[in-house]
Every structure is written in structure tokens, then in C-alpha cells.
């Protein structure tokens, strides 16, 4: 893990006709809009999106808690859901980090594991490096901040691709908040096992986002968003974060964020 993240060491394929979407378990039950928005956005780019109904969770919660065997059986079940040799786009940098960087070790010796991991792309990484996308901003001028999850930053380089996408939006000013690189305190079971420490971390993270004086912040990870938004709501702050897929869809369609026309 270094600042020179894995994107520098990666060969990117040409734009495919078809991709798989990996929705993640958090988005599935808590934030399905972002999954739908990601699909819509990719379809607008002329890509067919397949969402295998058999997908569940990448296994990270068990893996990070030290339950390797349990993580492994869930991970194997995921791999079986994505048989075609096409990219798998994940709308979470942290689950992407798990599947791309931790599966090879967790599933060492499983046939085809390296090839599977090569097909994993985080959503913003896919837009920038595979689609080489050029965005047209149809939204009103506004200031936003960005929070990148730590795995997304250090394992997947999402802070670079995420910022480069926001910077393509002519009417959006990206504000760097204090201690931008610092963890929000989520860390999966950490937030529950060491609730006091996590609380101190999210208090500082939310305060620095509020200080940045922006109308919203975007992130590519629902774990952090759930954590920071939960804290902001509790503090009765109006600021909220939203998933970058929803944000990009809204900006390019000229809608206000939160106004994509999903039926819920």
C-alpha cells in the first residue's frame, strides 16, 4: 500500500460492450438507489450491465474479524456468480480492495483466482481508465467535498480518479477539507467493537467536512457515507454525503442531486 496506488501498475482494457455490476451488501439493503444510478449511468455510456442475482457480500466483514474460513466460503460463492470474461464494476472502493487485493491471498490456489481479480474495477477507476470518460456538467454551480474510504484510497487509488471526475464538472468546485486523508472511523466491526474511538474519529471527520463549507460531499463508499451521514444527522447538521454514481448521474442529466427518477 503506497501513495503510488495500484492504478499505476495496471493494464486497462478497451471499453467493453458489457459489464457486471457488483452492488455490495450495504447498498443492497440500505442504499439501492446508488446501484440503480450506477447502472443507469453505465447504460448511458452504451454499456450493457448485468447484475447477477446470486451476489451477496464480498466477505470483508468476516475477513477483517479474523474468520478466514467463513470469509473464504462466501468469497467463493461470489466468484461463481460472474462466469463471463467481462469487467466487474464495483460501486465501493473498499469491497473492490477486498476482491482485487485480498482475494488472491484468501483464495490462494483456487483455479482462475488471478484472472478473476484482474476483472475487478472500482466504479470511478472504470470510468476514468477504461471508459476514458468526458463528462458534461449540466448542473448549477456548487462547491462539494470528497471523502475517500481508506481502502479505496490506499488499495485502489479512488481519491485520484474520484477527484478527476469531479474536476471534469465545469460548475463544481472541489474543496479539500482538513485532514482529507484521514479515516472517518468506520472500519466495519471496529465501529462497534471500539465505539468510543470510532465516535471520536467520526466527530472530527464530520466537523472538518462541515468546516469546508460545501453543499454536499461525495464518496465512493457506502460504509463511510453511512457513518458520516449518520453522525451529521445526529448532530442536526444539514450537510450530507452522497454516492458518486448518483452525483455524476444527476450532474450530467442536469438534475439536482437526489432527484434521479428511480422508483423506490
Amino acid at each position: 500500500m503506497t501513495e503510488l496506488n495500484s492504478q499505476h501498475l495496471r493494464h486497462y482494457p478497451n471499453k467493453p460492450k458489457q459489464v457486471y455490476l457488483y452492488g455490495t451488501c450495504l447498498a443492497d439493503v440500505l442504499f439501492p438507489d446508488s446501484g440503480i444510478d450506477a447502472i443507469e449511468f453505465l447504460e448511458q455510456q452504451g454499456i450493457d450491465v448485468i447484475f447477477p442475482q446470486g451476489q451477496t457480500c464480498c466477505g470483508q466483514p468476516a475477513y477483517n474479524s479474523g474468520y478466514q474460513q467463513q470469509a473464504k466460503s462466501v468469497a467463493l460463492q461470489q466468484i461463481a456468480q460472474f462466469p463471463l470474461d467481462i469487467p466487474i464494476v464495483i460501486i465501493s472502493g473498499s469491497c473492490g480492495g477486498m476482491m482485487r487485493h485480498h482475494y488472491p491471498e484468501l483464495l490462494k490456489g483456487e483455479p482462475g483466482i488471478e484472472a478473476f481479480c484482474e476483472r475487478i474495477f472500482e466504479f470511478t477507476e472504470f470510468l476514468v481508465h477504461v471508459l476514458k470518460i468526458k463528462l458534461t456538467d449540466n448542473g448549477e454551480p456548487e462547491k462539494v467535498a470528497m471523502h475517500t474510504s481508506c481502502a479505496a484510497r490506499r488499495e485502489m487509488g479512488v481519491h485520484i480518479t474520484g477527484a478527476s471526475l469531479i474536476n471534469q464538472l465545469d460548475n463544481v468546485e472541489l474543496v479539500i477539507h482538513k485532514q482529507e486523508k484521514e479515516c472517518c472511523g468506520f472500519g466495519g466491526t471496529f465501529a462497534v467493537k471500539h465505539g468510543d474511538i470510532s465516535a471520536a474519529m467520526v466527530a472530527d471527520k464530520s466537523a472538518s467536512l462541515v468546516d469546508a463549507d460545501v453543499v454536499r460531499f461525495v464518496s465512493a463508499d457506502w460504509g463511510c457515507l453511512m457513518n458520516i451521514n449518520g453522525a451529521l444527522e445526529y448532530q442536526k447538521q444539514p450537510l450530507r454525503g452522497e454516492h458518486i454514481a448518483s452525483y455524476l448521474l444527476a450532474r450530467t442529466a442536469g438534475k439536482k442531486a437526489g432527484e434521479t427518477d428511480n422508483d423506490s
Binding site: 500500500m1 503506497t2 501513495e3 503510488l4 452492488g23 439493503v29 440500505l30 439501492p32 438507489d33 446501484g35 440503480i36 447502472i39 442475482q53 446470486g54 451476489q55 451477496t56 457480500c57 466477505g59 468476516a62 477483517n64 474479524s65 479474523g66 474468520y67 474460513q69 467463513q70 462466501v74 467463493l76 460463492q77 456468480q81 481508506c150 481502502a151 484510497r153 490506499r154 488499495e155 484521514e182 479515516c183 472511523g185 468506520f186 472500519g187 466495519g188 466491526t189 471496529f190 465501529a191 462497534v192 467493537k193 471500539h194 465505539g195 468510543d196 474511538i197 465516535a199 471520536a200 474519529m201 467520526v202 453511512m226 457513518n227 449518520g230 453522525a231 444527522e233 445526529y234 423506490s264
Partner: protein, 488 residues
Amino acid sequence: MTVKIQEPEQSESKYAETARAFRQNVKKDLANAELRENFHGAMNYLMAKRAASFPSDDELETLRNQCKLIKQRALLKLPYLLEKLESNLQANGIHVHWAETITDANEIIAQVITSKNGKHIVKGKSMVSEETALNDYLHARDMEILESDMGEYIVQLAHEHPSHIIMPAIHQNKKQVADLFDKHIDGFDYTTDVDALIGEGRRILRDKFCHADVGITGVNFAVAETGTLCLVENEGNGQMSSAVPNVHIALTGIEKVVELLEDVPPLLSLLTRSATGQAITTYFNMITKPRQSDEKDGPEEVHLVLLDNGRSQAFADEELRQTLQCIRCGACMNHCPVYTRIGGHAYGTVYPGPIGKIISPHMLGLEATKDLPTASSLCGACGEVCPVKIPIPKILQRLRTESVKVHSGSPDELKGAGSNRKPMEATIWKIWSFIHKHQGMYRFSMWVATRLRGLLPSKLGVWTQVRSAPQLAPKTLHERIQARQPRG
């Protein structure tokens, strides 16, 4: 001559108890606003200093790779290099002692001091002597031991122990130090001026140096090729402690050995820049011999005590061996969002922060330290800055696995393995795994969960103490996609 291990039985380190109290310590220290401010300010300062000292990412990466390899090369032939170090030091006239446990180390040191009728001891900064609780041990034997590093001197006056491995008193601000001096030093002219405070401490210490019988220091690098002990410091107290008294005892862990003299410059450069952002420290001492007949100063006797204390357990495991690459720069704690908030004392261990989390289990066992590996969001900041590229988050994960696995009783098992396994938690993960590997079961569970979302309590334990509860969606992503008409 090798001193054989004296007593196989080792009483538990005093730090085992304080490490077990991690959760209580955290609560207490998080509530201390002044303490949090002290750490926050200091860590921000140190992070900025480090960043400024590495203007080029490429150079930093090259240097980190080089130093990682130097340390890995040394570890690869550790037993051989330790023997070589011993024979070269002996050829230079330096006595070498091996200590398996902290009690062994303390006994060896006390014996050397007693054999010289020593009473007054000055000590340069040594984290290993904190590890062995040497001060307590010598005190109990009626010896006076005085810390000569300014930070160590402050924590000694305050009856504390270091809260940071290179900045022992970083938890105190200047006002607190001034109050401490005011309370303990006769004739102290009250001031909160940092330079004046340091001057005051120096005045007292200088006198002590002149009257000390024995000086004790740590070691940063022990060079096997030449039998040289290197000491990195900023205050000159390491030089005074090792050169003024008649006897110098250096105490260090077995992992400090490096193979070649030429290994030292890159390690030194990376150490000082990672630690304090300095291109080099004010003093760099290389100790190769006791005083020779034609020399006017220096100690007549030099001893090196090499401590194991669990390091060989780490060494035996290829992954955990990487913890022994550490050059004790402190960068991992400076960049750690957990350390920055809870401070160094909350860990309850000698070594706090990320490095403390991964080496303390070898020293104290996984049972006493069971809360440490989980007290991390695995954000990776430590691994990103570690100059010798120790994959700290990876090792934390490994220790989590070790601490929840079924205890096998095999002699190769880590001390305290399985001690954090809770039947309830293990069962939950089994059920979790069962649901998530059966797609039908998963979809059904999520369907039920979203349908019953009205029943979700608005209080979810610690989560909702500072956050609102998340709301389950009315329909899952799986369902919404199934119901969705593909675009034509």
C-alpha cells in the same frame, strides 16, 4: 563470554495488567480534552515535518525499498549475524550478554553495576529498558537511576512512562512541564518558555553525569561486520551517558543487528526523516571499544545486553517476522488516527500505536493484548508511512485471526492464541457465512429485513450514541433490478 540464562521463570511484565485495561484507559483518555489537544497538535506537526523532508516520492520509495531489504537481509541470517556481532564486539573488548526474558536482562545489568560497586546511574533514552522496567528493578535494589533524555526526565519526574517511542513526554504541554518542574525542582524560576525549561533540566542533569558510576543507553543499529554500536540522538545525553561514567551498559533487542557498516547510512537517513523530519540528528555516536590506554576519555568497560523477550516467537513465523524490521521511528503512531485520539498511555503497553499493537502480543501474549489488534479501522496510514514497509494492517488482521481461532495447544502456537474466541461471536460468523453463501437464503433474509424495516429499533447500541440509525430501504437492490425494464 556468554552469560547463561539465570532464571527460566519470569514474572509477568507490569504492562500485561495495564494492557488488559485498554478499554477503560481509552474511555478515560478520550475524555481528557487537554491530552487530546496535546497529541493532536504534536502529531500534526510531526506529520508535516516528515512530509517536508521527503520532497520526492520516488526517492522515498527507493529508500524505503532499500531499507526494507537491508533489514530483511539481516533477519534472514539473524542467528549468524548475532554470533558475528558477539565475536566482533568481544574482539573489540566489549562484553556481550544474552537475556531471554526481561528479568534476565535486569539481573545481568544489576550484576554488572554491583560488581563495580555502582550506586548512581544515568540513562540515555532506551525503550528496551522501559520494556524490562529496569528503573523499578534498580530502585528496589537501592540504586539511583536518573533519566537524562529531556522527555524521559520529565516522565520520570511525573512518575509516568513514555507515551511515544521517540517523544516520551509528548502528552504534556509546556505549561504542564513548567508546573511539574515547579513542584519538583528547588529554586526553579517559573517559566513556560521551552528553551528555558530545557536549560533548567540540562543544568540538573549535567551535574549528575559527572558523578554517575554507570551509564546505560539503548542502541539503534548494532553492526555485525565491525562490532559497532550506533546511537542516534539529539541532546548529547546519549554521548554523555556512554562516555562519561566508567562503565557503559548498552541494552537492546536482538532485532537491532545489521550486517554491514554500509547498511547504516540509508537506515539513518530514513530513520531521522521519518521520525522528526530531520536530515540527520544532532548527534550520531558509533561505539566500538572501551577506552584505550592512549585515550583520555570514555568508559573503561562496555557491555551489551541483547534481549529476546518474545522476539524469537515473532522470528519463527515468516509473516510476523516482519515486525522485527522496525527501526523505531514512530512514524506509524504519528500518522495513526487512533493513536492521535487516545494517546500513548491508553494502550497500556511499553510500545504504543500501530507498532505496539503488533509487537506487544509477542512480549505480553495475545490474552493480555487481546483488545489491541481490533482497535484499528485498518485504514492503512501506518503501513503507508512505515520506512521499512512493515505491512502493519496485514499483521493486525493476522493477529485477529490468531486471537479468535480454536486454541490447539500446539507448541508452535502464538502465546495466548485463541484467547479472544467467543462462542457467541464465532456462531454469529458461522450463521453469517451460511446466509451469504446461499443466494436464496440471502435474498430471503434481505427481503424479510426490508419488509420489517419498521421494526428496526432506533437505538443500535454504540452506533447510535453519536449517529442516527441507518434506515433500511423499502426494497433491496436485487428486487429493484429484477423489476426493472432493461433499456431498449
